[in-house]
């Protein structure tokens, strides 16, 4: 796949369709792949990487890239295309300056999961059917892909690209992967249990802002949390209240716009399951205001900037089942 992608990117650079390529390159560690822009065939040969560690969602990087001159080629996995559509809806990116190649994804491997399985000294990774072969300085190890998937990939919502100019490989389907199971489990707990669960999770937060910075929906130029008057700008949370507030408000600001790409949980250095907050909003919106998948269709109206006269009253929260 990597070879195919490089040769196609070279062709498009050669014939002048695009003048740069947004893809991935190896970061500090082999399992730590970072997004990168390539401007020539030589750069592509030297640095372009696509493997089972390429989890990052490239859509957000297009906000900065489409301001620049010329057309850019971007490789998008199915879940990234949802974010792409959402950014189009919000007029954050310029469709005319982007050439999208959809690439298939079988789910990405989590470096954390491998570490938890005692793997160290990783030098590379290969995909082989339903297995991944991890190359380490101590030799190769083979895992079933399903055992070492990123959390968000275990409950993948879709293998279908919702937008592309060109597709590599086979088109997938929208999946029913039970992604709300954990939310439902939390909902079924007592308030005390839920409170204990979320305190144990949110108290780990170091306010590194990685979740905010990586989130394709958090694309404001000036974030509310950068406001010096907010009292909590650019500093570690000093109180349990601040931990709660940051995460409630962040989840609320992306409610109805979050495509559930799961980047927030993937980048969290403290492994807080932040996607559970976003999924709660998605689940509520689906249940109360009708099924809505942000990013499925460019130009669709987000539920929080819409209403019907017959909406449920907020008092429904007191009466819902299992609460």
């Amino acid at each position: 796949m990597q070879g195919m992608m490089i040769s196609r990117a070279k062709e498009l650079l050669q014939d002048g369709t695009v003048n740069r390529v947004l893809g991935w390159q190896a970061g500090e560690f082999v399992y730590d792949i970072t997004p990168a822009v390539f401007e020539s065939a030589e750069e592509l040969d030297a640095g372009f990487v696509y493997n089972a560690f390429c989890g990052s969602n490239l859509s957000k990087y297009l906000i900065k890239e489409t301001i620049k001159e010329g057309k850019i080629l971007v490789f998008l996995k199915p879940c990234d295309t949802y974010s792409f559509n959402q950014l189009l809806t919000e007029h954050r990116i310029d469709r005319d300056k982007i050439y999208v190649i959809g690439i298939p994804c079988q789910g990405k491997t989590s470096g954390e999961m491998l570490k938890a399985k005692g793997i160290s000294g990783i030098t590379g990774i290969k995909e082989d059917g339903d297995n991944v072969i991890v190359e380490t300085i101590y030799g190769n190890e083979t895992f079933a892909r399903a055992d070492v998937l990123e959390e968000r990939c275990r409950t993948c919502k879709s293998k279908k690209h919702v937008v592309y100019d060109e597709l590599m490989g086979e088109e997938g389907e929208v999946l029913d992967s039970g992604r709300f199971d954990m939310v439902a489990k939390l909902e079924a707990m007592t308030p005390d249990e839920r409170f204990a669960f979320w305190r144990s999770q949110l108290s780990k937060c170091i306010r590194c802002n990685a979740c905010r910075n990586v989130c394709p929906a958090c694309s404001c130029e000036k974030c509310v949390f950068d406001n010096p008057n907010s009292g909590i700008s650019q500093k570690a949370a000093a109180d349990s209240f601040e931990e709660n507030m940051f995460h409630i408000i962040r989840a609320f600001h992306v409610a109805g716009r979050c495509t559930d790409c799961g980047e927030c949980s993937r980048v969290c250095p403290q492994n807080i399951p932040l996607h559970l907050l976003n999924r709660k909003f998605i689940k509520d919106i689906n249940e109360l205001y009708g099924e809505y998948q942000a990013g499925e269709e460019a130009g669709s109206r987000a539920p929080l900037v819409n209403y019907t006269t017959g909406d449920v009253e907020p008092s429904i929260v007191y009466h819902r089942e299992g609460k």
Partner: protein, 146 residues
């Protein structure tokens, strides 16, 4: 010296829409209807002016309960503000409940300018509910405590 147990008096913040509930509160006053003095009213131009952050800030600064009063759906001075507020507050309250924060501490009521009696009754009921719940512990900010 006998240990004196102070009766718990909740602090309630009521965000009231300028065009209806705020006038409703006024009417309750002119009609000599009583409601607890623990309710602190904050006037807002419309119920949809209330940002979710306002609600959280109120709890941070020591509120034990927060209530939002706006025009009845369909009667918004700005045509549709309360419809947006309704969706936002439903989702916010549901999220607070999801985090294990007592859901009875937050409420939305639609009170028109003519409903002084409803305003007083709502506040009496809400203060009683919050008094029964006790102090807000789960969404408190210790630095803001006296």
């Amino acid at each position: 010296m006998p240990n004196e147990v102070k009766a718990f008096k909740p602090k309630i913040v009521a965000f009231c829409c300028n065009w209806c509930s705020y006038a409703g509160a006024d009417l309750a006053g002119t009609n000599r209807l009583t409601y607890p003095a623990d309710v602190k009213i904050i006037r807002v131009p419309c119920s949809c002016r209330v940002n979710p952050m306002f609600i959280l800030r109120a709890f941070q600064r020591g509120a034990d309960g927060v209530i939002l009063c706006g025009c009845h759906p369909g009667d918004c001075h700005y045509t549709s503000g309360n419809y947006y507020a309704r969706r936002r507050m439903t989702l916010l309250f549901s999220m607070l409940d999801y985090l294990g924060i007592e859901k009875e501490r937050t409420r939305v009521e639609w009170v028109s300018a003519a409903e002084g009696a409803k305003f007083a009754a709502t506040m009496n009921d809400f203060v009683a509910t919050v008094t029964a719940l006790g102090e807000n512990k789960r969404l408190e900010d210790l630095r803001c405590k006296e």
